[in-house]
């Protein structure tokens, strides 16, 4: 490797608070060889040479092409529908309406409230009212134009507060309010009585598009034995299978879901493959032929889930020395037309409850009160997107921290340090953080690297002509590892063969985050073989054990533990056999680098791993391991929102420097430092990649991204007008990685996938406010919004 890419990669292990790692990995276990090494990704060569097949690259011979006729109205009754003309078009094999769904006419990641084919009413522009399968995409498209639908328009609702009002048009029979979730800790009014300063502010965030580069594409292939096989880029094959089976009216074991490498997911491909696979499967069932549904970019925007918009009304009290005394918030979380991943899976699953739990921020506050409404509207629906409700609420509390600091004349860093979680802190749900809390360390590291005190002193005009002002911003954050549902768990199978080669079966999917590299790294380390000895079987519900979805920053930690446990089972046989062969006690054995030797005599006789494996197999010993790991039990009281919803958290601090053109409102991010407590970096380079990509996405959220909706219709459906950051928008980002061991994690790891996305947005917004005085409380802070925020103040500061 050349000098340049080796630069500045530092992972700092924090010695303080070092804990015994408990059951999974013992401190002082033989030095790590593969875990902690930035190995090349296992799928890199295929990707670098264009040989890796994404869904769109698979041969299409013999396939029918499915198309979806979508509702042009946000809310309407279907009076009649006539597909006869479409059926007559040569090349059309079938045209289906709601009555043609063989089983349950509904799917959904949590509740099956979204019709596979709408039968009586539509609830958003994009709802599917008919499906067509034809010999080519062109014919299928043409057939859609021949379908006649009579609608009766209903009044639509586009604001969650309107949806909750009495007499609002009812979107679903169950009512518009999906839930009101409450968090109650201490006495919030008493907390306000202790406060010297109380601020009330409302913050608002829009729908966001995932904008993964690969548009969705899934298919269904009927198998000779009656099984339906569905394939596509998907984050949650088990959730796909769980939906396709009842939609077809068959048991779960008659559906097989296989993941194809994803061209990005970011949470979006948890939902959309459920939609596409259910529809493709219904068409395949009717035609008896393979059916493929591939979406164009505009269709992805129209049809698939987005990040939930929220309106967050905060009231926060603080003493004059900066101690938070009370936090009160009412959150209107807009679910859109369908439930998707919003509703609660007890005790603490679903994006809405997660948003509520995270909403007071990573701060010790004695008195907290949150009312969080989740409700339907006639907009597109909100699903999972990198942070699952956490980015939204961080945008509120992190702006509020700066507004409080400004009111008190305090440094934004000081007010955070005064209140930030530390070991032993109690969260807003009264969870005691008893291990792996490196939040303050991330603040210290970030402050030092960024040079906060010097930088914040030099905020102000950049040029003599006074066109641009410079400012700095800070934001902190926390994010769970795991999903807080009762059933959260991962299974893994590990098979060792007589030649020492290994197969790892895992249902965790690859979307670019590096799971197909990091999981084999853990397996190789746990067995004491080399990385190239481990071949990973790609997620396939017929082959791999239930692993849950690849979401919630859970994969490395939960699956990593399952893999270690699977390897332990195999190691029991290997230990016994090697102990016989070396004539030493099994406890003294070390498995490392394909060698097995006596810990107390490392220079003595060493066995080859494959020798031991072959001998064990020849003695009829078990070389198949199955690991199953579930995190410590989650809890959350449904009335008070008190409990321990997630077993461990990742922590982070970000600092940004921006320049604001006060004439145009244009913002340039000029410098950026982000520090993380990750537990343990299994592959530091891949982990940095998560940081850099997450920050870029957060920067887009801050400055440019918004799905613009007019009467329920997205106005910016393409990448020409839905803007995401380009290479020119990115500052020189410096990631800092700290390790505060997680005693429940494989080798001490905890999740990283989502955390980097979360504090990035408020850090940039706070820097903009610091630079020009104007604060944009309804995102994005695009040039127009910043321009008006400055004008509202009567112009930029003159100092």
């Amino acid at each position: 490797m050349s000098q340049n890419s080796e630069e500045k990669r530092q992972v700092k292990t924090l010695e303080r608070e070092r804990l015994d790692l408990g059951r999974l990995v013992k401190v002082g276990e033989a030095g790590l060889r593969i875990v902690g090494d930035s190995v090349r990704r296992t799928d890199d060569v295929l990707k670098a040479t264009g040989k890796l097949k994404y869904a769109a690259d698979y041969p299409q011979e013999g396939f029918l092409h499915g198309k979806i006729l979508r509702s042009p109205y946000p809310h309407a009754l279907i009076r009649s529908i006539d597909v006869s003309k479409a059926r007559e078009l040569p090349g059309v094999v079938c045209a289906l309406t709601g009555g043609d769904v063989p089983g349950r006419n509904g799917f959904g990641a949590i509740l099956p409230d979204q019709p596979v084919i709408c039968q009586d009413k539509v609830r958003y522009i994009g709802d599917g009212v008919a499906l067509v399968a034809a010999e080519s995409e062109r014919i299928a498209q043409k057939a859609l134009e021949l379908i006649r639908v009579e609608y009766e328009e209903l009044p639509a609702v586009f604001d969650p507060r309107d949806a909750l009002a009495e007499g609002a048009p009812k979107i679903h029979e169950t009512g518009n309010q999906i839930s009101l979730d409450k968090l109650r800790k201490g006495d919030v009014e008493a907390g306000f009585a202790q406060a010297d300063v109380i601020l009330e502010r409302t913050y608002q965030v829009p729908f966001l598009e995932h904008a993964y580069m690969e548009p969705d594409c899934c298919w269904a292939i009927p198998q000779p034995d009656g099984t339906m096989m569905v394939e596509g880029p998907m984050q949650a094959p088990f959730a796909v299978r769980r939906n396709v089976a009842p939609v077809l009216g068959v048991p779960i074991n008659m559906v097989r879901a296989r993941q194809i490498h994803m061209g990005g997911g970011f949470g979006g491909k948890e939902d959309s493959p459920i939609d596409l696979c259910c529809r493709a499967a219904v068409l395949a069932k009717h035609t008896g032929r393979p059916v493929r549904i591939s979406l164009e970019r505009e269709e992805v925007t129209l049809q698939t889930c987005k990040r939930h918009p929220m309106i967050m009304e905060l009231k926060v009290g603080v003493t004059k020395d900066g101690k938070l005394t009370a936090f009160k918030s009412t959150v209107y979380d807009e679910q859109g037309a369908y439930a998707s991943l919003g509703p609660k899976i007890p005790p603490a699953g679903g994006s809405h409850v997660h948003a509520m739990v995270m909403s007071p921020g990573p701060y010790e506050i004695e008195n907290c009160w949150v009312d969080a409404y989740l409700c339907y509207t006639n907009h597109p629906y909100g699903g999972a997107m990198r942070g699952f409700g956490a980015p939204q609420v961080h945008i509120a509390h992190e702006q509020m921290m700066d507004e409080l600091a400004a009111e008190l004349g305090m440094d934004p860093v000081d007010i955070r340090r005064k209140n930030a979680f530390k070991l032993g802190s109690k969260t807003a749900t009264s969870q005691v953080l008893d291990q792996s809390v490196g939040l303050r360390e991330t603040l210290d590291a970030c402050e030092e690297r960024f040079g906060w005190s010097q930088r914040s002193d030099s905020a102000g005009w950049v040029d003599a002509a006074k066109t641009k002002r410079r400012g700095v911003g800070v934001a902190m954050g926390w994010y769970r590892t795991s999903i807080g549902t009762g059933g959260d768990a991962c299974g893994a199978n590990v098979h060792v063969h007589e030649d020492g080669s290994v197969i790892l079966y895992s249902g965790i999917t690859e979307m670019g985050q590096g799971a197909f590299t990091v999981l084999p790294q853990i397996c190789a380390e746990a067995l004491g073989v080399e990385l190239e000895d481990v071949r990973l079987v790609k997620p396939d519900t017929d082959l791999v054990p239930e692993s849950g979805p690849t979401v919630g920053s859970r994969s490395t930690t939960l699956m990593g533990n399952a893999i270690i446990l699977a390897c332990r089972q195999v190691r029991e046989s290997l230990d016994q056999k090697a102990a016989e062969m070396l004539g030493v006690e099994p406890e003294r054995l070390v498995f490392c680098g394909r060698k097995v030797f006596d810990r107390d005599n490392p220079d003595g006789k060493a066995l080859e791993f494959r020798q031991v494996a072959a001998a064990a197999m020849a003695s009829g010993m078990r070389l198949i391991g199955q690991g199953w790991w579930a995190p410590p039990k989650a809890s959350l009281d449904p009335e008070t929102g008190q409990g321990s919803p997630y077993f461990v958290y990742t922590y982070s601090t970000h600092m940004a420097e921006v320049e604001v053109d006060v004439q145009t409102g244009e913002v340039t991010v000029t410098d950026y430092v982000a520090a993380f407590d990750v537990g343990k970096a299994i592959n530091p380079k891949a982990l940095e990649g998560q940081i850099e990509g997450g920050v870029a996405m957060g920067l887009g959220y801050a400055l440019m991204e918004k799905v613009v909706l007019e009467n329920g219709m997205p106005q910016n459906m393409s990448l020409q007008n839905y803007l995401i950051p380009t290479m020119l928008d990115m500052p020189d980002l410096k990631p800092l990685v700290l390790e505060q061991t997680n005693q429940h994690g494989p080798y001490g790891a905890k999740g990283i996938g989502e955390m980097p996305n979360i504090p990035a947005t408020p850090a940039v917004i706070n820097a903009v406010a610091n630079a020009c005085g104007g604060r944009v409380r309804s995102l994005p802070a695009n040039p127009e919004a910043v321009f008006w925020a400055i004008r509202e103040l009567g112009g930029p500061p003159q100092d």
Partner: protein
């Protein structure tokens, strides 16, 4: 629509096939030639995922009619490796730097980088960013891609 014979060179090999005049270059490459390494992300020339080299210049193959390539030389990701099969410095540098995540934009990124380095063997960071800014990436935040291009320029 009446098909027209398209003759051009793809990855060094002469190709001659009938295509319909409204066929875009990306569909010719993926559909007619089976070169699926070239991706599509938007089909309107915005995301740069479909970038290939036309006589060494990066073009969005999703909005370029295939017939525009008549008599010209096209390089796709399948043609980036050296004739002996060893990988180009750019491919090696992308892998070493960790510049590939989901990989969907990578062919477009690497080919654009190739074109840049052919013209400007020692580009500054700013020049790299300007040259590659037409290709969108949602995974990496671009930092490791810039590093990779810089690394590749040092390997020459």
């Amino acid at each position: 629509m009446k098909s027209v014979e398209l003759s051009c060179k793809v990855n060094g090999r002469p190709v001659s096939l009938p295509v319909e005049p409204d066929t875009m270059l990306v569909d010719f490459l993926r559909g007619h030639l089976g070169l699926t390494g070239t991706k599509t992300g938007c089909r309107e020339g915005e995301c740069g995922t479909c970038t290939v080299l036309l006589d060494g210049m990066p073009v969005n193959s999703c909005i370029l009619p295939a017939l525009k390539a008549a008599g010209r030389e096209i390089t796709t990701i399948e043609g980036l490796a050296r004739p002996d099969g060893s990988l180009d410095d750019i491919q090696e540098a992308f892998m070493d730097a960790g510049a590939i995540q989901c990989g969907y934009c990578s062919p477009g990124m690497m080919l654009t980088a190739k074109s840049l380095l052919e013209k400007n063997p020692n580009p500054s960071e700013d020049e790299i960013k300007h040259a590659l800014s037409g290709v969108l990436c949602r995974c990496t935040g671009y930092r490791k891609i810039v590093q990779a291009v810089r690394d590749a320029s040092c390997r020459k």
